[in-house]
Symmetry: C2
């Protein structure tokens, strides 16, 4: 049996209320008793039961975090940013992984309600109707990360994936590329899948360039292997693109790996651009042109919004915080060879 406040009180010869007051500094207690109580605490190794306290105070000091996965620098960076804010305001985190499974996400939202989280941070890959309904009717403040939710009264933090993709593809176009392919993610993934693809699509359309199925490939897991496979299918087309945009750096690196193994030189024969600017991007050869954004900052800002709400510094109403990004041009993209040959004529 763990030591309780009763035992400490008995040992110090005071009432449990006095012990509580000393430990919480909630009311003045004479130095003499304080001394005795502190000694009794020390002797018994008493640790106040935070569960009992939560029960009375109707708050747990806990923030529930839901991420699709964690062994991915994007989400681990996110969690790190969240942890920084939690630490700052003395909140503690519960962490669960949804595996991008809507059923599981719903279950987790319910479990976090049951467990009386003070707030919830939810990095949602998609936005399932049942989950959305749950979040809307739930009476725990929740910030959704990576999903715009303007129609409902839930704050969220995102980056403008579509615009970032658009700009990256535009960079390729400005280098003279006319045949631009893409390895994209699953389109049900609203943020990194759909929006990034749409930005690509829009850039091509607006510049009157062809959007050809043979030059696009879908990867389901945003990993290196997706990039290898995607590149293989694209590279085996009779007519090849001169530039490739990938929905994430890992896909881009996979594509580069495929090409390197075949002695295709980058960017001479194919320009490649990625997205995310993870550490990897500047370590591969050639260094990857990509979109830099900060998952840490995303986590930090989302958690700030949540703690602001919890501290009643802010209302829990609709709000979409759009964070910055930056297209970082490195060595994997270059002027289109065909174009320069054209000039040389």
């Amino acid at each position: 049996m763990a030591v309780t406040i009763r035992e400490v009180a008995k040992r110090a010869g005071v009432s449990i209320a006095t012990v509580s007051r000393v430990l919480n500094g909630s009311k003045p207690v004479s130095d003499r008793l304080k001394q005795r109580i502190l000694e009794a605490v020390e002797e018994t190794g008493y640790r106040p039961n935070a569960v009992a306290r939560s029960m009375i105070q109707k708050k747990t000091g806990l923030i529930g975090v839901i991420v699709p996965e964690i062994a991915n620098p994007y989400f681990s960076g996110l969690v790190e940013g969240i942890e920084a804010v939690a630490n700052e305001w003395s909140y503690y985190l519960m962490l669960a992984i949804s595996e991008k499974n809507a059923q599981r996400e719903l279950e987790l939202l319910r479990i976090y309600q049951s467990r009386q989280m003070d707030g919830i941070l939810w990095a949602a890959a998609q936005m399932d109707p049942a989950c959305r309904a749950e979040v809307e009717k739930m009476n725990i403040p929740c910030v959704v990360i990576g999903q715009r939710l303007e129609e409902v009264c839930i704050p969220s933090a995102v980056i403008d994936n579509r615009r970032a993709s658009y700009e990256t593809v535009k960079h390729l176009i400005q280098l003279g590329h006319q045949r631009i392919g893409m390895i994209h993610g699953p389109l049900w993934d609203v943020q990194s899948g759909k929006e990034r693809f749409e930005g690509y699509r829009q850039a091509l359309l607006e510049h009157g360039l062809p959007l050809r199925d043979e030059w696009t490939a879908e990867g389901l897991r945003f990993d290196v292997q997706d990039g290898v496979k995607g590149m293989e299918s694209i590279w085996n087309q009779p007519e090849r693109p001169t530039a490739l945009f990938c929905a994430c750096d890992r896909m881009a690196v996979g594509a580069m790996t495929y090409l390197k193994e075949r002695g295709v030189s980058i960017p001479e024969e194919l320009s490649v651009a990625g997205f995310d600017d993870e550490e990897l991007a500047s370590l591969v050869t050639p260094r990857l042109t990509t979109v830099r954004h900060s998952p840490y900052q995303m986590g930090y800002e989302s958690a700030r919004i949540l703690t602001d709400i919890l501290r009643r510094k802010r209302k829990s109403t609709s709000l979409t915080l759009t964070l910055d990004y930056q297209v970082v041009i490195r060595d994997s993209t270059a002027t289109c060879k065909e174009l320069s040959q054209h000039w040389n004529k």
Copy 2:
């Protein structure tokens, strides 16, 4: 105010005990009442208060996890492995980051006791005496990850870092290298710092090779920058090593980056080996020789030990689980040039 069991009971016209019995299936309840209660639950959107339940049952179903950092593939892999086990046995996780700060680790151990964790998983970078004392006297089962604790009665999971380093350096020696340097981590980091350095040291000594200060460098953060700086100081020595062992892949990649920028070819002019085999290792050029081990498995196995203890399938006594590793030879290490020249004479 959130809905309580009282409200559900009133609505269904039964006692709160009956509601509890239906929701927990703890005792038989007539179908008629069961029906009414389930409806009332549905109508009110009642979510049982898990905090109140924990209070009575004296268990929370929570596992407290402490890691030094999370935006690092080693620890995020670890957490993923832990999560898999937690999920399997319906435990939930609390996650906190210690930033390798012993003071903070102690605080976290106490907070987790206060918060009534059923068990604790602690990835300790060092082993501070105060923390060790806390863990020993604590009456919550704890598994320490990455620290051998045979003297105390605490289970732990580790890999044999010293032996893995030894073997990697031996691989370099077998390639004919006689002048072998190392970029190591801080020596207070028992696992990745001290043990890996000792393995290197032992290999040199046993083979009668020189251990020279000018060929070793210490990095404090196990990052790419540590590798760049370390390589710089080593490469600027009048006499240079022909091979380099690094305490982690990032350091190795940093060293390679430094050399590449100076047009030094790897492995011709310098063989480089790393440790960890993170994804990065097989994506850089040349692909890195390194030590493969699995943080996921480490997390999984540690969590298994803990859940076994919690399910009373295992006693909470001393036990050190040593996981496997494997030296993966790739393209960044090759026969010592000086040796082959020697042969060619």
